[in-house]
Symmetry: C2
Subunit: 141 residues, 2 copies
Amino acid sequence: MLSIGVLARRAATNVQTIRFYELEGLMPPPSRSEGGQRRYTLAHADRLAFIRHARELGFPLTAIRELLTLVDKPDQPCAEVDRVTSDVLADVEAKIIRLESLRGELQRMVRQCRRGRVADCRIVQVLKDHTHSSCLSKEHT
Amino acid sequence: MLSIGVLARRAATNVQTIRFYELEGLMPPPSRSEGGQRRYTLAHADRLAFIRHARELGFPLTAIRELLTLVDKPDQPCAEVDRVTSDVLADVEAKIIRLESLRGELQRMVRQCRRGRVADCRIVQVLKDHTHSSCLSKEHT
DNA sequence: TCTAAATGCTACAGTGACTATAGGTTCAAG
DNA sequence: CTTGAACCTATAGTCACTGTAGCATTTAGA
């Protein structure tokens, strides 16, 4: 039986995150010690590792929730798993496109800055006048 | 004098966002009509355009706050403007690196999926066993 | 001038995925 | 038996908004 602290260290997560996953229904509630502290099994550790790994790959929690129910039905076809993963991939690709465009714009601005006065600064000019630039208006986070 | 709705349409922003910027001290409080509705000048429109453009380029609001105070001192050297912008650029570059690594990992997973049962799915296997992959553990958003 | 639709107002809750804090309790080592 | 680390719950904060409720005001047409 693992305490929450030991489990957290094993998964390189922090303790609050594990409690948060329990609250969100991603981690099943573990048994408790006589004093009410959480006691985890190795099955819990596996599930947490799965969640963390998916998170590191950019899966949002809603997608992970889907994956976890799919993983519990090993004889079903894996088309859904593939779809969820492809969606995450598409999202990552869209973010890359967007960020590359921003990078180009920012590089141009910094390159054109002549380290003079604020009034003459190319960066400020570009920011003031939208028409100088060719930027996408979607979110980039 | 512009109403908040007209200003919002001009800046391709929405009305709540403008009120939010005022609350955050990024937009100066405009004058009000007799009935208490906000009435904006063209100076307000310019400032909003600056904020929105910087946001689109990935500047966080704290950075924009800094830029706005700098822009109000046009005779100062623009080194600070350059630094703020370079910081944003570095952030964008770090995100790209991270996302490219994720993309590679996800592409590999999807490519290796043989559309069989969940139990045999390569995607699920990779997610279950962290050691199969070479991923970075930092945030990517 | 009246009326109805559109627009505006404040205040507050929600988003995602945690992180941090406060104020208390339990556990394990010595 | 004591002490300090680890644990507990509950709540607020992060970022940059977005959405909602329940009103008040403005504006255009009849």
